[in-house]
């Protein structure tokens, strides 16, 4: 997994609550058997009109957000299905960090497995960032994972919390499976006495 240490980038604002994974990547794209190549599928039904042209109403289609790599969104981002295609699509599109007041569990977890950083801030802090983005075209932020800080040229400084284990995995780009296999003897020991649920 690629590490996440520090990232500076353009912020795109998607001021909606409960953005679900069916919107992030609609089901017709789940038939692919690859892990990449989902950039054009991201927010497909919101992004494109029926004739395939970009929907000018959709936030991310605004020219000011072209090249954004930090997504700012409303509460409960990523609710719904467990599809990891959702973080894959966000990642392929170019997003490395997502900031919201809250995230759905499975989506949150899936981000970390792909070297992406979902950041929970308070509702008040997120509102303030939405205001800053609205008022400043080209608004950029720096996310520093080791310091757990978000900073901007306009003087904004926000601390965020993160589980220490997840932080370490992201900073070092650690592979979960590799870590687990380090305690393979424990798995075998557990298996030697585990309850047998099988048909007898």
């Amino acid at each position: 997994m690629k590490p996440f240490i520090k990232h500076e980038g353009l912020v795109a604002a998607l001021d909606r609550v409960n953005v679900d994974t069916d919107q992030i990547i609609p089901k017709q794209f789940l038939k692919r058997i690859e892990r990449t190549g989902f950039a054009d599928c991201l927010f497909f039904d919101w992004r494109f009109l029926a004739d395939g042209t970009p929907n000018p109403e959709f936030e991310l289609n605004q020219s000011r957000y072209i090249g954004a790599s930090i997504l700012l969104a409303g509460a409960n981002f990523g609710c719904g299905s467990s599809r990891e295609h959702a973080p894959w699509a966000l990642n392929d599109y170019g997003f490395r960090a997502i900031i919201a007041p809250s995230f759905a569990d499975i989506f949150f977890n899936n981000c970390f497995k792909n070297g992406m950083l979902p950041i929970r801030l308070s509702e008040v802090e997120v509102r303030d960032l939405f205001r800053r983005v609205a008022e400043n075209e080209g608004y950029r932020l720096t996310v520093d994972l080791s310091e757990q800080m978000i900073t901007g040229d306009d003087g904004v400084e926000l601390h965020f919390d993160i589980d220490p284990f997840r932080k370490q995995c992201l900073l070092e780009g650690l592979d979960d499976i590799g870590l687990t296999l380090q305690v393979e003897d424990r798995i075998s020991a557990y298996e030697s006495h585990r309850r047998n649920f099988g048909a007898a």
């Binding site: 038939k31 039904d45 899936n110 284990f165």
Partner: protein, 466 residues
């Protein structure tokens, strides 16, 4: 110290626990389907890893299989590729597969319980958020992403931080015409779509104890729609008698031994939960969703919400957007909403009891003109049973389409989809924008409400059905 059902299972499955790290927990049963697994198998191959316990892994195809006759070829080449890929992966890694031609094929959350794979006290995962369904048996069951699917395939374990616990006591008895589906929709409406985020929910109380296993599965199934990590119900005599005789359930003396263990699982008297909620359902009405998430729900006797009456700004904007998408005016009575389509199916409501109840409503009647209605059994076994009981005839005679099993129009990955603007009474679990087809408008209801809507051509209060 008294323990909760969740704590007992959790502690029984810890393989390794270091301070400051998530616990490594053992997985007793890993369910696999075609959509969320191909990338995991590829990564395994790439790393030269094997599947640690193919014997604890079980695969089926459900998400994008067509529901027309199984003798017809699959015309969608990409779907076909995904289905064939699962077949080759299962063969290569030695995983048992209930494929398209298997008499046991079906929606993964329907066949697990039906075949007796799902048992109390187990940990069960699947690359699918509705894995929470299996919690109805007193198992700890939850959905995972593809990277975690790979992790479980390789190690049979999962790194998990310990969730908090939330008990929802459901007191009173459900009135006639009000079902487990109405109960769970009402719970989500009450606590919100993120009301249980970070929690494992245990449902308890009189109404739950009185439920059949299939009703309990409906409740646990939609736990994820409230954001819960998992939903659980303590095992009891209803659970044990459901399991007895199922192909994968223990037999003979082993069954008695298992029951003795299962009886130790319910939460102890005085066990502490991080959060508790009690609701009384004695006066609950059938529920109908009006918006684009499963918390946007009201009574069938109610009206479409007026967004201006919502105080929270975020919620107000979301409601406005939802009404626009759904093509609804504030204040319209739910019973005045005309429908175009009816879908009875999905891992929430496609089991035999659901079909029996819906068939009783349509028996001798016909689908309203202009309405197209379909029944998609959850598994081939449900389908066969329904046909033995003549339910297929009841549905067909009324003008319903009777299909082969699969996820079908629950998510519309196969050819079963809504056209833009079509309004659908659906027994599935998600009413997200475009879920059943781009531009489609989904209203979540119980199977009997969907059946009644099919006949009436609009939503009706099934409590008054004659």
């Amino acid at each position: 110290m008294p323990k909760t059902l969740f704590e007992k299972i959790w502690e029984d499955h810890i393989v390794h626990d270091e301070p400051g790290k998530p616990a490594l927990i053992y997985i007793d049963c890993h369910l696999v389907h075609e959509v969320t697994s191909p990338q995991a198998f590829d990564a395994l191959r790439l790393a030269g890893r094997r599947v640690r316990r193919p014997d604890l892994t079980l695969a089926t195809v459900d998400h994008n299989v067509p529901t027309w006759s199984r003798s017809l070829p699959i015309t969608d080449e990409i779907s076909l590729k995904q289905i064939t890929r699962l077949e080759t992966n299962c063969r290569e890694f030695g995983i048992p597969l209930f494929g398209l031609d298997s008499p046991q094929q079906g929606i993964v959350h329907v066949i697990g319980p039906e075949l007796g794979f799902t048992q109390p006290g187990m940990t069960i995962v699947c690359g699918d958020s509705h894995t929470s369904t299996h919690g109805a048996f007193g198992a700890l069951a939850f959905g995972i992403g593809t990277s975690e699917v790979e992790h479980v395939l390789a190690t049979q374990c999962l790194l998990q931080s310990r969730p908090s616990t939330f008990r929802i006591n459901v007191e009173g008895g459900l009135p006639n015409g009000v079902t487990a589906k109405d109960l769970i929709l009402y719970i989500i409406r009450t606590i919100g779509t993120d009301g249980a985020t970070g929690f494992v929910v245990e449902y308890s109380g009189e109404a739950i104890r009185r439920m059949s296993m299939e009703e309990r599965m409906t409740v646990c199934n939609m736990s994820i729609e409230a954001g819960a990590r998992a939903g659980m119900i303590a095992p009891d005599e209803t659970t044990f008698s459901y399991l007895q005789g199922r192909p994968q359930a223990p037999k003979g003396a082993a069954f008695d031994e298992a029951v003795a263990y299962w009886k130790t699982l319910p939460s102890d008297e005085g066990a502490a939960f991080d959060r508790e909620l009690t609701i009384d359902v004695s006066d609950l009405a059938p529920q109908v969703s009006w918006g684009t998430n499963p918390g946007m729900v009201t009574d069938v006797t109610g009206s479409v919400i007026d967004p201006d009456a919502i105080s929270d700004e975020n919620e107000r904007r979301a409601a406005r957007r939802a009404l626009e998408y759904m093509g609804l005016q504030p204040g319209t009575r739910i019973e005045d909403l005309q429908i175009d389509r009816v879908f009875i199916g999905s891992c929430t409501n496609s089991r035999i009891e659901d079909l029996r109840a819906a068939a009783r409503i349509v028996n001798g009647k016909s689908v309203a003109s202009g309405v197209s209605a379909m029944v998609v059994p959850g598994s081939q076994q449900v389908k066969v049973q329904a046909e033995l009981e003549g339910l297929d005839r009841v549905f067909r005679d009324a003008g319903f389409d009777w299909r082969e099993s699969g996820c079908s129009m629950c998510l519309g990955m196969n050819p079963d989809i809504l056209r833009p603007g079509e309004r659908c009474a659906s027994t599935s679990n998600r009413n997200f924008e475009g879920r059943q087809g781009a531009g489609g408008r989904t209203h979540l209801v119980s199977p009997i409400m969907a059946a009644a809507a099919a006949v009436a051509g609009r939503f009706v209060d099934v409590r008054n059905w004659e």
